[in-house]
């Protein structure tokens, strides 16, 4: 289990990037709910969009170390990306974490510690919570696996 609680995950869960206590006042911000009814984890993601560009991502809410660290890393990684790039990134991430883990098209080194979750299938939703909320937003018509 030490493996799942990799220092990266602990670090991000203890001091997450782009975390805020309360929602922003900004009315333009895109607000996504990432709720896992199975465990009660609940994050709200705030996307500051500039046309096709994701200028900044922030989040608030409550969740376990794994889901919090993943959300934190995601906010870092998506900052400054275009929507198209983000879709590829998210899809690659899902492939790496859930599917066969085969060669992603993007560099996802910092997400490698999360691959450990494959040994803890009951924790998979912790990893996918925010990814799926973003996929649902960017590709509302796509059926998830």
């Amino acid at each position: 289990m030490k493996d799942l609680y990799h220092p990266t995950i602990i670090r991000h869960s203890k001091s997450p990037s782009n975390f805020r206590e309360d929602p922003p006042d900004d009315r333009e911000v895109v607000t996504l709910e990432a709720y896992n009814p199975l465990c009660g984890d609940e994050f709200t993601l705030y996307l500051y969009m500039q046309g096709e560009l994701i200028e900044k991502v922030q989040f608030s809410g409550y969740g376990c170390a794994v889901s919090k660290a993943m959300t934190s890393l995601l906010t870092e990684r998506l900052e400054g990306k275009r929507i198209l790039e983000s879709k590829v990134l998210l899809s690659d991430l899902r492939k790496m974490l859930i599917d066969n883990g085969e060669s992603p098209r993007t560099l996802l080194d910092e997400f490698v510690p999360f691959m450990e979750v494959r040994n803890y299938p009951e924790r998979m939703t912790c990893v996918t919570l925010s990814i799926d909320a973003l996929v649902d937003y960017f590709e509302p018509n796509k059926d998830r696996l």
Binding site: M1, Y5, I10, K14, G40, Y62, A65, K68, R123
Partner: protein, 420 residues
């Protein structure tokens, strides 16, 4: 109610010694502890099974099996005898008046659904209400919610005191002449509270309101006697009382059972299946449509044997002390917050670690084979009231001992070391 409390009972080490037959000693009779050693602090979700229960199920299939009630050959007669003996054993175990007050079900959930849809629904009148408490398990919440939504009744939730007990004063206001039924939990699966239901039941009865008691967490942990409780229905599950999965009990006072309609329709429940109308058997058979889980009843008998030999009151005394010890230890640990502070508590405690999500706690404990539970414990309305999405829960049964508590505390310290 305050989430933090100062629950503290002095552990009497000598008394614990005096009950050595429980704990480590009795644990030997539970094969899972030999085959897959672990610290099991999740008995409130489901209990482990002594060899005797496992053997009773095997023996039933290997030597006594046949259909129930349906045939005249010997195999069938033997299986039927055991099944009906199970009814009598349960009758005596909970102090019912006669075997026909005992209905075998799939579990607490099914028992409560049977009462909700078979007993409460036919009694519905306009302006009626159903009263539950704020600490009910979903099994004793969702069926009533369904009925209330469907038929336009109001669902009243008795609030809790700050200590985490059902508020008796509020109860006596909420239960009124228009109450169809009141359904209350005896021991909360989140807070561990032992509710003193007698005064509430007395009040309900003064208004002719029938009362169902959810005994899922109390059965096997304390003497549950339907005469002493004076409840009208009682529901519990085999799997939480050292028995098999898939079997449970609904007790009902016979006069109420006579008024109750079947909820599941099938074989062995009708006297006469007419093309226009059918005539149902007398209770309990009319509620047991379909081939019963006879092997489950065979195992349940063995579980009752086991509990009675160990002595439910011994188990209660032992586990009260062990629980106090656990609470002491948790209290003494920095950054641990315990939920609720009831006068009487049974078998379990919910707690949270400061700034560490309960799932992380349970996961990391799981790594060293310490099983506790993290979640909403199927009591979302209660946790919402408390403002906590999820908690950690450690629960015990007769096979736990101080070493388990020590392992838990070590584990908690390890969890903290990860994060702090």
């Amino acid at each position: 109610m305050s989430v933090f409390n100062n629950y503290r009972i002095q552990l009497d080490a000598r008394k614990l010694d005096g009950m050595l037959k429980l704990g480590k000693h009795i644990r030997k009779e539970f094969p899972i502890f030999q085959n897959a050693p672990h610290v099991y602090l999740d008995s409130a979700a489901t209990s482990h099974k002594p060899q005797r229960v496992i053997d009773a199920v095997s023996r039933f299939y290997s030597t006594q099996y046949g259909s129930i009630h349906r045939a005249l050959h010997t195999r069938s007669a033997e299986a039927t005898r055991i099944y009906e003996m199970g009814r009598s054993r349960v009758e005596h175990f909970i102090g019912a008046n006669k075997p026909s007050e005992i209905i075998f079900t799939g579990g607490t959930t099914e028992s409560i659904n049977q009462v909700a849809f078979g007993f409460a629904v036919p009694r519905i009148k306009e302006g009626g209400n159903i009263v539950i408490s704020a600490m009910e398990h979903h099994a004793n919440f969702l069926p009533w919610q369904r009925i209330c939504t469907q038929y336009g009744l109001s669902l009243r939730r008795i609030p809790l005191t700050d200590a985490g007990e059902i508020d008796e004063v509020a109860a006596s206001e909420l239960i009124d002449e228009n109450t169809l039924i009141t359904a209350l939990v005896q021991v909360s699966n989140v807070l561990g509270t032992v509710n003193d239901l007698n005064p509430i039941i007395a009040h309900a009865h003064s208004l002719q309101v029938p009362v169902l008691v959810d005994a899922a967490q109390s059965i096997g942990h304390m003497d549950v006697n339907v005469q002493a409780l004076d409840c009208d229905f009682l529901a519990f599950s085999g799997h939480k009382m050292l028995g098999p999965t898939g079997v449970g009990v609904l007790y009902g006072k016979y006069t109420y059972l006579e008024q109750m309609e079947p909820w599941r329709f099938g074989g062995e429940m009708v006297l006469h299946a007419g093309l226009e109308r059918s005539k149902f058997k007398e209770p309990p058979h009319r509620f047991e449509g379909g081939s019963p889980h006879s092997a489950g009843v065979a195992g349940l008998i063995a579980a009752i044997d086991f509990l009675e030999e160990a002595g439910v009151s011994n188990i209660q005394r032992y586990s009260d002390q062990l629980l106090s010890h656990m609470i002491d230890q948790l209290q003494a640990e920095e950054d641990v917050q315990i939920l609720a502070d009831p006068k009487q508590r049974s078998g379990l405690v919910s707690f949270v670690l400061k700034d560490i999500h309960p799932h992380d706690v349970a996961s990391i404990l799981g790594e060293t084979n310490i099983a506790i539970r993290a979640g909403h414990h199927c009591a979302q309305p209660l946790l919402r009231d408390l403002g906590i999405p999820v908690t950690n829960r450690a629960s015990i049964h007769c096979y736990n001992d101080e070493d388990d508590i020590e392992a838990l505390m070590d584990g908690i310290r390890r969890v903290k070391s990860y994060f702090h």
